[in-house]
C-alpha cells in the first residue's frame, strides 16, 4: 500500500524528533460517536468508536525487551533468491535486536528444526552463522513450525516482554493441519497467553486466507511481499513495531446503557453478551491508534441532551512502568428534532473510520463473490464502494478516503484479470487486514 510507506516515514520521523516534553505516559482512550446529535423518537443506528493510542516513548527511555521466534519456511519453493533474502532479513533482525532481547530461529520443510533455540542476542555471530546454514528443500509443515516457534517463546515467557512469532512462508501448508480455521484456532489460543504471530507471505504461492487469519486471530501483523527484495524492509517495519510496544494485554469492556443495543464490531473479533461487549488487543504501539467501531441500535428517545450511551473500561499492562492500569470513558449522545443540528454535528474523523471499515467489508464481500466466479457482481460491489468512498471524501473533506476510492476502482478492474488474480487477491487481503487492524505498514 502506498500510504503505508508514507505512514512509516512520518512515524519514524516523529520517533526521531528530540522530545522536549514527555506527556503523561498512559494510553490515550478516545470515545466518540459518529453522530453526537440523533433524531428524537426514532429507531436508528449509530457507531461508537473506541480509540486507543499508545504514548510516545522518549528516546532515552529503555524500550521494552522482546522475545522473538522467527519461523522460516525453507521448503523447496523457497529455493534461490527467496531463501537468500529471507536469510538476509533474519540476519537484519539479529542486528536490530538488543542484547537483552531473546531470539529463536525455527525452520521447517517436511519437518521442523529449532535452528537456534531461544537465546539472548549476545552472540550475534553464532546466530548468524546458524541462519546462514539454512538450505531449502522439501514441503511445508507450517503448523508445526508455528507450534515450535511458540514453544521456544514459552521457554523465556514473560509478560513484560513482547512475545512474538514472525512467520515467513511462500507456500501452502501441506504437512500437518493446513486449514485457515485450524491456524486461526492456534492463533487465538496463542493470543490468549499474549503471543502474537506476524505473518509475512512471500511471492504468489502462499495461502493468504490462512496467513491473514493466523495474524488476525493472534493480533499480529500481516504483510504481502510480492518481491523478496522487499523482505528486509518489511522486517525492519515489523521490528520497529515490536520495539515500540508500550502496552500489552489490553482488554476492553463496553457496557451499553439502556436503550442502546450493541450489534457488531466492524472488522474485529469481539464477544457481545447482552448489552456488554468484550474485546482485547495483545499490544499497543507507540503513537499508533487502534480502534473499535461498535454498531449500536438506538431505541427511540425523547429530545434530551447528554444521554449516557456506554461506559468503557479498559485494562492494560504498561510496558514502561510494568504496572496494570485501568482507564475508563463514557460515550454520550444528544437527541433533537432539529435535522440541521444533526447534519452539522457529524464527527468527521469517526465517520472516516466508519466509511473505511464499511468499504473494507465490501471489499471482503467482493472477494468472496470473485472466489465463486461472479466477476461482474464483484466488480459492481467494488465500483459502488469506490463511488461511496469518493462521495464521502468530498462530504467529509477527507482525501484519504478518496485515495481508498481510487484503489477500489483499480481493484475492480484488476479482479477481472485472470493472470493477475493470485497477486490481486493477496493484495486485497493485505489491504483489508491493514485497514481492519490499523496496521502501521
Amino acid at each position: 500500500m502506498k500510504s503505508s510507506a508514507i505512514k512509516f516515514f512520518t512515524m519514524s520521523f516523529l520517533l526521531l524528533l528530540p522530545l522536549t516534553m514527555i506527556a503523561a505516559q498512559t494510553i490515550k482512550l478516545d470515545v466518540s460517536v459518529t453522530n453526537s446529535w440523533l433524531l428524537a423518537g426514532e429507531n436508528q443506528k449509530t457507531y461508537l468508536k473506541v480509540g486507543l493510542t499508545g504514548f510516545e516513548l522518549a528516546d532515552n527511555q529503555n524500550r521494552t525487551s522482546s522475545n522473538i521466534a522467527i519461523v522460516l519456511d525453507k521448503s523447496g519453493s523457497m529455493d534461490g533468491e527467496k531463501i537468500e533474502r529471507a536469510i538476509e532479513a533474519a540476519m537484519l533482525a539479529v542486528d536490530i535486536l538488543g542484547e537483552d532481547d531473546i531470539l529463536s530461529v525455527i525452520t521447517y520443510s517436511d519437518t521442523v528444526e529449532v535452528l537456534v533455540p531461544a537465546t539472548k542476542v549476545s552472540d550475534r555471530l553464532y546466530i548468524k552463522r546458524k541462519i546462514a546454514s539454512i538450505r531449502s528443500d522439501g514441503s511445508t509443515a507450517l503448523f508445526a513450525g508455528v507450534s515450535k516457534g511458540a514453544d521456544e517463546l514459552e521457554k523465556f515467557f514473560d509478560r513484560n516482554r513482547v512475545n512474538r512469532v514472525i512467520l515467513l512462508s511462500d507456500g501452502l501448508a501441506n504437512v500437518g493441519p493446513e486449514s485457515p480455521a485450524a491456524l486461526g484456532e492456534l492463533g487465538s489460543s496463542l493470543r490468549r497467553i499474549g503471543i502474537s504471530v506476524t505473518t509475512i507471505g512471500l511471492g504468489l504461492g502462499y495461502n493468504e486466507d490462512l496467513m491473514v487469519r493466523l495474524a488476525q486471530k493472534s493480533d499480529g501483523n500481516h504483510a504481502f511481499v510480492e518481491n523478496s527484495r522487499d523482505l528486509s524492509r518489511i522486517f525492519e517495519y515489523e521490528f520497529k513495531d515490536i520495539l515500540s510496544v508500550v502496552a500489552q494485554d489490553v482488554t476492553i469492556e463496553i457496557n451499553c446503557r439502556e436503550g442502546f443495543h450493541p450489534v457488531r464490531v466492524l472488522g474485529r473479533d469481539a464477544d457481545i453478551i447482552g448489552n456488554k461487549v468484550y474485546t482485547s488487543l495483545n499490544q499497543l504501539y507507540s503513537n499508533q491508534e487502534k480502534y473499535f467501531l461498535l454498531e449500536v441500535d438506538v431505541d427511540p428517545f425523547a429530545v434530551r441532551e447528554s444521554v449516557d450511551m456506554a461506559a468503557i473500561t479498559m485494562n492494560y499492562s504498561n510496558m514502561v512502568t510494568s504496572r496494570n492500569e485501568t482507564l475508563s470513558g463514557n460515550g454520550t449522545i444528544n437527541f433533537t428534532r432539529d435535522q440541521e443540528k444533526i447534519d452539522g454535528n457529524i464527527d468527521r474523523e469517526t465517520m472516516v473510520s466508519v466509511v473505511t471499515q464499511i468499504a473494507a467489508e465490501k471489499s471482503e464481500e467482493a472477494l468472496l463473490m470473485r472466489d465463486e466466479g461472479n466477476i461482474k457482481e464483484a466488480q459492481a460491489v467494488l465500483s459502488a464502494s469506490s463511488e461511496y468512498l469518493k462521495e464521502q471524501a468530498e462530504i467529509l473533506n477527507a482525501p484519504s478516503l478518496a485515495g481508498y476510492g481510487e484503489e477500489y476502482e483499480e481493484d475492480a478492474e484488476m479482479i477481472a484479470d485472470e493472470e493477475q488474480w493470485g497477486a490481486t487477491r493477496k493484495k486485497m487481503r493485505d489491504d483489508q487486514f491493514e485497514v481492519q487492524n490499523q496496521q502501521s505498514y
Binding site: A141, F143, R192, D271
Partner: protein
C-alpha cells in the same frame, strides 16, 4: 563318454553350489527377518516412548485444567473473562444436578460462541453422554475423564469430572491441544527413519525424521495411542538404504562373498578333476592315433613277412629251422591281430565301423581261429577243450566275430595261461547262438567285471604287470559285438574267467 563326464562335472559343480546358495539365501532371509523383527521391536519401543510423552502431556493438561477456578459460587461475569484467558479452553461448562447448564448460562445473556456450544451440546446429547461415562472408580479418585466426539473436520475433546452430582467440564481448543502435544515430540533429523503422527482421519499432524518415504510405502510399524488419543496413530517408516540405527548385524554383508568363494573353490576343484581325467583320456587317445598311423605303415611289411614265411614253411625240411619259422609266423599273426585291433578301434572311434553280414559257419570259424592260436596255446601248454556241436549257419559279419573271439582267446592266453586250460563250448538258445570261452586263470574280481570293457582299462595287479597291451582289446570286442547285434558278457564262474558271446541266428536286425 565325454558327455557323461561333462554331466558329472556339471552336477559336481552345481549340486553343492545350489545347496550352498539356497542355504545362504535362507540364512540371509532369516537374518533379514530377524533384523526386521529386532528393528520392529526397537521401533515399537520408540513409538511407545513417544506415546508416553504424549500421555504425560495429557496428564499435565488435565492438571492444568483441574487448576482452573471453575466454581459455581462465582458469577458468570467472573468466570467468563478468566476462561477467555485460557488457551486450552474453547468453552468451559458447569452442569447442575438437574442436568441444566449453569455455565454458560442457559437463561442469561450469552455470546454467539456460547450459543453455538449450547446448541451443539443439545444436538449430541452431551449431558446424558457425560453422565453415562462417569465411572465410580474415577469419581472416587477424583480424576477427570475424557469424552471425544467427531464434529466438523476432526475430533473434539472434552475433559470433565463430577463432584456432588455436578459436572465440571472443558471443551478443549483442539489445535491448541495439537500444538501442545506436538511440541513434546522430537525434531530429530535422522535420515534413517520418519515417524508420523496422524489424527483420526489419517491426516498428518506432525512428523519427524528426515527419511522421505514413498507415498505408497507401507510403514514398518503402526502404533495406536492411548486414550483419549485412541484414534490417533504413530507410523514408523524405516529407510532401508541406511543401516539400522539400533543394531547392525554384520552377518549379512559377508554371506554373499562366502557363497561366491565356496562356489569358486568347488568349480576349480571339479574343473581340476575334469582336466586330470580328460588329460589321461586324451593322452591314451593320442597314443592310439599314433599307433594307428604306425599300424597302417606296419601292415604292408607284416603282410609280406607272413606271405614269405608261409611260402618258406613249405620249403623247409629241417625241423629246427621249421620251428623258428613257426615262431616267426605265430608272432606275425599276433602282431597282425594287434594291428587289426588298433585299426578297428580307430575306425570305431571315428564311427566308421560297419558290419557286413554273410552266412557264417561258426564251427568252421572257431576251428580256423584255434588253428591260428595253435602254436601259441601249445607254447603256453594250454589244453584246448572244444566240443563241436552241429550248429545252424548264422548271418553275421564274420570278420568282426573273428576279431571278437581273437581278442577273448588272446586275453585268455595272455592272462589265464597259468590254468593250462581253454574251454570252448557252443549252444543254441531260442534265437541266439552262444559261444562260451573259459580259462582257469586267476579270473576277474567281481567289482571290475564291468570296467574291463572300458577302453584303456587294465586291471592293475601283479598279473598284468608283466604283460604288455594296448588296453583296447575287450573294449573293442564289446563294440564289435554291439555292432553285429551280439551280446558279449562275462559269466559267473567258480574258477578263471568265462566270457559268453551270443550271436543272433537271424543276423542283426536294424
Amino acid at each position: 563318454m565325454k558327455k557323461r563326464l561333462l554331466l558329472v562335472f556339471l552336477i559336481l559343480i552345481f549340486m553343492p553350489v545350489t545347496v550352498i546358495t539356497v542355504m545362504g539365501i535362507y540364512t540371509y532371509r532369516n537374518s533379514l527377518n530377524k533384523e526386521r523383527e529386532s528393528l520392529k521391536e526397537a521401533a515399537e519401543e520408540i513409538l511407545i516412548v513417544n506415546d508416553r510423552l504424549l500421555q504425560n502431556r495429557i496428564r499435565l493438561i488435565e492438571d492444568e485444567l483441574e487448576g482452573l477456578s471453575l466454581d459455581p459460587q462465582l458469577t458468570t461475569d467472573e468466570i467468563r473473562p478468566a476462561m477467555n484467558r485460557e488457551r486450552l479452553v474453547k468453552q468451559a461448562f458447569i452442569i447442575d444436578g438437574e442436568d441444566q447448564f449453569i455455565y454458560p448460562p442457559i437463561k442469561g445473556d450469552t455470546s454467539s460462541k456460547e450459543k453455538e456450544f449450547l446448541a451443539e451440546a443439545e444436538s449430541i446429547e452431551l449431558v446424558s453422554n457425560l453422565r453415562a461415562r462417569i465411572s465410580p472408580v474415577e469419581k472416587q479418585l477424583n480424576q477427570s475423564q475424557w469424552y471425544t466426539w467427531f464434529m466438523g473436520d476432526g475430533l473434539n475433546f472434552i475433559n470433565f469430572s463430577e463432584k456432588d452430582n455436578m459436572i465440571y467440564g472443558y471443551l478443549v481448543e483442539r489445535y491448541s491441544l495439537v500444538s501442545q502435544l506436538i511440541n513434546v515430540l522430537p525434531q530429530d533429523r535422522d535420515d534413517s527413519f520418519r515417524i508420523q503422527l496422524t489424527d483420526a482421519r489419517g491426516g498428518i499432524l506432525y512428523q519427524w525424521g528426515n527419511y522421505s518415504h514413498g507415498e505408497t510405502e507401507k510403514a514398518l510399524l503402526e502404533h495406536s495411542l492411548g486414550e483419549p488419543l485412541g484414534s490417533w496413530r504413530l507410523f514408523y517408516f524405516h529407510n532401508e538404504k541406511t543401516g539400522t540405527p539400533i543394531k547392525t548385524t554384520l552377518g549379512n554383508i559377508y554371506i554373499i562373498p562366502v557363497i561366491v568363494l565356496l562356489s569358486l573353490i568347488i568349480f576349480f576343484l571339479a574343473y581340476y578333476f575334469y582336466r586330470e581325467n580328460t588329460r589321461e583320456m586324451e593322452t591314451a587317445r593320442k597314443q592310439v592315433t599314433f599307433v594307428n598311423q604306425v599300424s597302417h605303415e606296419l601292415k604292408t611289411p607284416l603282410t609280406n613277412i607272413r606271405l614269405y614265411s608261409e611260402l618258406l614253411q613249405n620249403k623247409l625240411v629241417d625241423p629246427k629251422e621249421r620251428n623258428f619259422l613257426d615262431i616267426i609266423v605265430r608272432e606275425s599273426n599276433r602282431l597282425g591281430r594287434m594291428i587289426n585291433n588298433v585299426l578297428t578301434f580307430s575306425r570305431g572311434e571315428r564311427g566308421e565301423l560297419k558290419s557286413q553280414n554273410k552266412k557264417t559257419d561258426i564251427n568252421l570259424l572257431i576251428s580256423e581261429i584255434l588253428e591260428k592260436f595253435g602254436p601259441l596255446l601249445k607254447e603256453n601248454s594250454m589244453k584246448i577243450i572244444y566240443r563241436e556241436n552241429p550248429l545252424p549257419a548264422v548271418v553275421t559279419d564274420k570278420d568282426m566275430i573273428e576279431q571278437i573271439l581273437n581278442n577273448i582267446i588272446g586275453n585268455a592266453v595272455k592272462y589265464g595261461s597259468a590254468g593250462k586250460y581253454l574251454g570252448i563250448e557252443t549252444e543254441v538258445k531260442k534265437d541266439v547262438l552262444i559261444i562260451y570261452i573259459d580259462d582257469r586263470g586267476p579270473g576277474i574280481p567281481e567289482p571290475e567285471r564291468e570296467l574291463i570293457f572300458k577302453p584303456f582299462y587294465r586291471i592293475d595287479n601283479s598279473l598284468t604287470q608283466n604283460n604288455s597291451g594296448t588296453g583296447i582289446g575287450l573294449s573293442l570286442a564289446k563294440t564289435l559285438a554291439e555292432e553285429t547285434g551280439s551280446l558279449l558278457k562275462i559269466e559267473k564262474s567258480p574258477v578263471g574267467a568265462c566270457f559268453s558271446l551270443a550271436i543272433p541266428l537271424e543276423g542283426e536286425k536294424k
